[in-house]
């Protein structure tokens, strides 16, 4: 224990941004926050800014597309998966399955079998993913951590294989001509202009952050933490552990589905190859690398996992190798991630023994 302490003290001070920010007077916090949000909305223009442009640019690919097709998705997915892994401490290796359910729902409803408008398909996609979460979670959430991991992994594969073998879902060729969001005012959603997708996506991200921080700092968030840290003790303190675990699963799934739906309506087509298992591992890498349980951490993790392979082209073909190694290195040297959870430095809490 004392060794752990000393390690923590050595590494923690560099990352006090959060507490310094909270120490500022309210007016300063509001204006800084507003400034930051404005700057984020303008991200598509960052490559045009001197110095910053050189840092963020993505040689060989359009930055706008990297921003909307990769970074945006990874931020959302990391936020969603963090609810499951970070808040509630449940290792979900089939998260790509929910992402696929969201994407395919939008695809089927707007192009594959029906021709619903985008705005109607979106909530249905979220709902379907949420239902998938409940359906998967109900039988499996009683399982112990490592069994849960492998069962969820199976779930992700089942979704992909089913899509591959179902004509209704377009089989291996998938579904194309998926509806785009309706244009309004100056925001025209088209293949040529990715910026509106970012404005939409970033707004969605802000809403998700708001919703999740409300949850995190409430009875629900406390119940999740309690489950994560000691499930048996939590139950004996009156926490309906199953219910809260299921909620974590459902909310995580809903966000994954939302991300998938946005992805589908941005790129315009889906096929089973978009939802390989490896993607689940990259999602997990984003969460773990950024800081399991810390929302700002996982956002950072999502950005890095999505952006680094595009920024450094040498990475892109080797990204899975790189992130595999990075997962090991992070677990060995900094299991709490780049930006650790606020109250706790230890990252993922250890589950207690099953015997009380």
């Amino acid at each position: 224990m004392s060794l752990t302490e000393s390690f923590r003290q050595r590494t923690a001070p560099q990352l006090r941004v959060g507490s310094r920010f909270r120490a500022l007077p309210k007016s300063a916090r509001w204006s800084l926050g507003a400034l930051l949000i404005a700057a984020c909305y303008l991200t598509p223009y960052w490559p045009d800014v001197p110095v910053l442009g050189w840092i963020v640019n993505t040689p060989g690919t359009s930055f706008e597309n990297v921003l909307t097709d990769q970074i945006m998705m990874f931020i959302l997915v990391a936020l969603g998966l963090n609810v499951v892994v970070g808040f509630a401490g449940l290792l979900d290796l089939g998260y790509v399955g929910f992402y696929a359910v969201g994407a395919y729902t939008t695809a089927v409803m707007t192009s594959g079998q029906f021709s619903w408008p985008w705005i109607a398909a979106m909530p249905l996609s979220i709902l379907m993913a949420m239902i998938a979460g409940v359906v998967l979670g109900t039988p499996t959430l009683r399982l112990r951590g490592d069994y849960l991991a492998i069962v969820t992994l199976g779930f992700g594969e089942i979704i992909r294989i089913t899509a591959n073998n179902s004509d209704w879902l377009g089989g291996p060729r998938g579904i194309n001509k998926i509806a785009r969001p309706p244009s309004f005012g100056p925001f025209e959603f088209s293949v040529l202009n990715a910026k509106p997708y970012w404005y939409l996506g970033f707004t969605v991200i802000l809403i998700v952050i708001f919703v999740l921080s409300r949850l995190e700092n409430s009875r629900v968030g406390r119940a999740w933490s309690a489950v994560r840290e000691d499930e048996d003790a939590a139950e004996l303190m009156g926490v309906n552990t199953f219910k809260f675990k299921l909620w974590a699963f459902a909310i995580g799934a809903a966000i994954g589905g939302l991300a998938g739906a946005l992805y589908a309506s941005k790129v315009g087509f889906v096929n089973p190859d978009n939802f390989q298992l490896q993607l689940s591992i990259l999602f997990l890498a984003a969460v773990v690398l950024g800081g399991t349980g810390s929302m700002y951490g996982v956002i950072m993790g999502g950005i890095l996992v999505a952006w680094i392979p595009e920024r450094f082209r040498g990475f892109s073909t080797r990204r899975y190798f790189v992130f595999g190694v990075v997962l090991v290195l992070v677990m060995v040297f900094r299991p709490q991630g780049i930006i650790p959870r606020r109250t706790a430095a230890a990252g993922i809490a250890e589950k207690g023994d099953t015997n009380v």
Partner: protein
């Protein structure tokens, strides 16, 4: 005759071929401190685990407030009004002291996921009152100065006390303490005894497992003695002190020699 709060009737608990509890019956009256003692491996903690729903007994019934507890989930039993601490501390290590207590208080709160997202009046009220109540409880057990410290970083004695506060947070009628003074020095034990008495005086009923005979003798209203999974005696502390079976059990004297 005072009112019975909890009664354990002819409970047998078997694990595979091992009988951990053998036809044990005992009851706890409202407002008393019942000491549950016995040598190591006598089945005290098993008895605790049956009461709090960790194990379903092989045979027999447990009823609380005249209603059976069998078939209830652990968290439902807690909501009925039984709370416990653990022999080997089981706090939520990365949560602060006040949050630990709030988890207990949340047992009776109603804020749902939707309520928490919308931040409605009930959710805000529960949050505010819960925090106040948590600080009250921390003050009561004397560690409010440490409210924002992560449980894992609290000194050992404070961790034991925090467990009591967390259990009190669930607003129990019956508080089960599993060797709360384990690892304490005599002075700390004395303080803890006073705390347990103070808790009783606040109207809680206390079931106390204790290894240290002196502690139990001093503060218990009644005592039940377990040995090899059987209840061998029950009665007032002074009766137990002179009971030959109890002495035999504690000193390990064979029955015929006692």
């Amino acid at each position: 005759m005072s009112e019975v709060l909890l009664s354990v009737d002819q409970v047998t608990m078997q694990f595979g071929g091992v009988t951990a509890l053998d036809n044990v019956s005992l009851h706890i009256n409202k407002g008393e401190i019942l000491g549950l003692i016995g040598p190591n491996g006598a089945g005290k903690t098993t008895c605790f685990n049956v009461i709090t729903g960790v194990y379903a007994p092989t045979m027999g019934t447990v009823s609380f407030d005249n209603k059976s507890l069998l078939g209830l989930k652990r968290f439902q039993i807690t909501k009925r009004g039984i709370a416990r601490t653990f022999q080997n501390i089981r706090l939520f290590p990365d949560m602060s002291a006040v949050e630990n207590v709030m988890v207990g208080i949340d047992a009776h709160n109603k804020t749902s996921v939707v309520g928490a997202i919308l931040g409605g009046p009930r959710s805000r009220r529960e949050e505010k009152e819960g925090r106040e109540r948590a600080h009250e409880l921390l003050k009561f057990i004397g560690i409010d100065d440490y409210a924002e410290v992560a449980a894992r970083n609290l000194p050992y004695g404070h961790q034991r006390r925090l467990e009591i506060a967390r259990a009190l947070g669930t607003n129990p009628q019956l508080l089960c303490l599993d060797e709360p003074a384990a690892g304490f020095n005599p002075a700390e034990k004395q303080e803890l005894n006073e705390l347990v008495l103070k808790i009783r005086d606040q109207g809680y009923t206390v079931l106390l497992i204790e290894h240290d005979m002196n502690v139990v003798m001093k503060i218990s209203d009644r005592i039940a003695v377990l040995d090899f999974g059987r209840k061998i005696a029950e009665g007032l502390p002074e009766e137990m002190r002179n009971n030959p079976d109890v002495i035999a059990a504690y000193l390990g004297v064979p029955d015929d020699a006692a």
